[in-house]
Symmetry: C3
Subunit: 350 residues, 3 copies
């Protein structure tokens, strides 16, 4: 018998089962500084205690995506260590602001399983909840991954495929954002004159800049999130694997795209929800990430006159400018440069 | 109309205009740790709360150059995104100590413009002020950059070239340093027996060590400062550009040279002012930085018997030892290895 | 006369002499975040204030090895700048928990010297003590290094070789760990069901994962520790040196092996002592580190029923899986892939 964990295989997941993940993690000013250093994010609310206080936060909250990555990271050892692919996310809501000093932990419930017809793999659906040290839920999302079977002859479980929402409704958004004091929202400091009402559905924004990723950078980031997926860290094995090299954590691309989106969306201070996301193609070190966004929808939040929500589709590419908004061809196949297609709700002052 | 910022061009600058820069930034212990990790600085006042308290600070102040880089970083999107070259700095004074928890913001005034005779570019002079969350000025400097015109047919503005000081006078120095309790200045802990009176004008000091720079390091540093200059981050475009590769932020070289200068100047605990600096040649990843310094002047500070000022010329080279103090040849041309020629005032206990 | 330090040579060390090292260093949440980002450590006590408080700490202590690296780093400029090789460690005890905000300083006593028969080098033995800002000793160890002579004709000193313990006795362990409230030790959060009594002497554990090291990562780490050994940082000189490249700090390997050991030893929350360690072969950037451990001994701590000690031999390899526990061949020669052979005591809840 070994003391070592090799991760769960498909037949180890049972619908209804709850998994308490290791390791709880206190988020600190150190993590925030590293997040800035790794992605170059410039949103004023997360960057400045003074700005955050002026508009209604007790002080600067932790970047929403840093919270996501830390909670997600905890689930890897239990859920996706033997995953073939991350298939999707849905229903991801940010429910409570996280501040330096808060301790995050994560619990997942298995909400679906379905063996693939090849008998070698299956799809596992989990709902993951992130909590702070007071037991307050800060994050909630559904994720489904394709996982290998340990024993191909193990019988297939009864298939159970949960319903997942294609998008969050506007009345479910905004719990993590305090009521904002708009008089103190200084647009010079925030970096853009454009507020919620200035954006039109269908509008496309090229975020202009490109960011080249180095091996050390994505490894430092992914370890910061205590994410242990082997493919990101081991050149000795990955060099002989599918791609011949280490694969960059998909969340690294999401954070780069979000940081680049400051140029054009500087007042989109908070990600309220992620409706879904697709990692269309892998990113490798040495490649350069660009991004563009389309405003897919605009919504008021019931009972709030301070902020509105923009539903954004942010597309990231590699080694290709986004000046002409690359996406799909006539046959609806992704442009070969596209690596991320993300659908989320961001809040902006009205 | 686009929501995206492409930066100002030469004709967008008007003498007398004031620019409030995004994004305010709370400096934390996380930034301080990253600064240490990126440059290896070892000055005791900035490294140790206990040492700083013993000599008269409330606790360890943030490294002067970290303050400079953060304030400078804010100005890039507004001032130098379309710059061809950073031409110079002058009159840079550190006016108030910055501590973890302080929030820095920056404002620039356009103090001069002069179109170049080629009609394609012009020189813009700005005075930038950095402030803390209480509105106290912490940093003040003049900088001039060569900026492209958007439209070459735009008429040239009336030329206005401001006077800039060639060096700060000793009586303008020291506002950011408390009166020191010299009895508690432990030279063993500080790393050197040599105090202000031990240094002679004309003395040259080889700082001995070399530090090789990696792409990930300068990118992490430059993003930490929220500096968005494209040339530092985008291999996809820079690979086809002037140098075929990413250019390292000039401030990275200044910080490396200052950290190396600990060996020989360990008691030079505070940069009071930067008289001027020249980035003689570019630095690229994989190259190794060395440095040496000359004591150019020595000054007492009016009314202070605790500290004195040394005016230092610190020269950095790449891939060349500084044991023989490389600088200029008989025709006053820089040695090809020289990359930085910096003129500043540092304070030392008397 | 120069103001620069070139480090001590063999003939500069006198038995009985005390050396106060520069630079005191306040450890912060920023250092802790960087440590996590560089090694990916997941031990719950060091990761979570909430977990640490529940089991009896005031809040999360700083990782033991971060304390070791910072204290060790201070000694390099005085002890090993002209070292040919680090020969060994012994008697390393962690005596008091270190928390963010504490300031560490270091003092060494020369406890032995012995010139080598070649007349060009000698072995220097030092006992180093690390202290916090209150003067409480937090770390104590003996180290011996081979150091070059400045002048080969200098007479050999009287040889003095101190006795060093081969291992710490169990009754010397545990001073840095509070009495634990085991009712609150949540093994789900800690990451493993196995406690002290579940481990058997002779048991071997493959830690499974591999971690590839990049130049930027080990340089960032080693600078964070303010360790100034030239071989880690200067490609310009090392490119023409013994290995043709920068040598990675041996402590980097120790921290990687410890972080990897979480998989199999997740409840081994504290390193109480390092009995000895051998850097069997050098590690270079681009290589991948694996590790395995053997339980060498198990001991109760006198007067404590909360925790027990496991004496562990942790072996790290490069570019070779540890699934078959590589160590020595029939002639007791190390497997060519082995880079570290570490002997230490870790504490675990009973």
């Amino acid at each position: 018998m070994t003391k070592t964990t090799h991760g769960r295989f498909f037949e180890d997941f049972t619908v209804g089962e709850t998994i308490v993940h290791a390791t709880p993690r206190t988020v600190t000013a150190g993590d925030v500084a590293l997040y800035t250093a790794l992605y170059g994010s410039r949103f004023a609310v997360q960057s400045s205690d003074a700005f955050a206080r002026a508009v209604g936060y007790p002080h600067a909250p932790v970047d929403d995506l840093l919270v996501f990555h830390i909670v997600f990271g905890k689930t890897v050892a239990d859920i996706s260590l033997n995953a073939v692919a991350n298939l999707g996310y849905a229903g991801c809501r940010f429910l409570h602001a996280v501040y330096p000093g808060d301790t995050l932990s994560a619990v997942s419930e298995v909400i679906g399983v379905k063996e693939n017809s090849n008998g070698r793999t299956g799809v596992v659906y989990v709902r993951t909840q992130g909590f702070n040290q007071n037991g307050t839920e800060v994050l909630d999302y559904v994720r489904w991954v394709m996982v290998r079977k340990r024993d191909e002859s193990a019988p297939a479980p009864a298939p159970h495929v949960p319903e997942v929402p294609s998008a969050l409704a506007p009345d479910t958004l905004g719990d993590a954002a305090p009521y904002l004091s708009l008089d103190h929202w200084n647009r010079h400091l925030a970096g853009s004159p454009y507020l919620w009402s200035d954006y039109a559905v269908g509008e496309r924004i090229d975020h202009v800049d490109g960011m080249t990723v180095e091996e050390a950078e994505h490894q430092i980031a992914t370890r910061l999130f205590q994410n242990t997926a082997k493919v990101h860290f081991n050149q000795h094995t990955e060099g002989q694997g599918r791609f011949g090299r280490r694969l960059i954590y998909g969340g690294h691309v999401i954070s780069l795209a979000r940081a680049l989106s400051f140029n054009g969306l500087a007042n989109a201070f908070h990600i309220a929800a992620i409706n879904g996301g697709r990692h269309v193609a892998p990113l490798f070190a040495g490649e350069t990430v660009y991004a563009w966004s389309e405003v897919v929808d605009r919504a008021e939040l019931p009972g709030r006159d301070d902020v509105g929500a923009l539903r954004l589709r942010t597309v990231a590419t590699k080694d290709r400018s986004c000046a002409d908004f690359p996406l799909v061809d006539a046959d609806n196949r992704y442009d070969p440069a596209v690596i991320l297609d993300l659908d989320y709700w961001a809040l902006m002052p009205r």
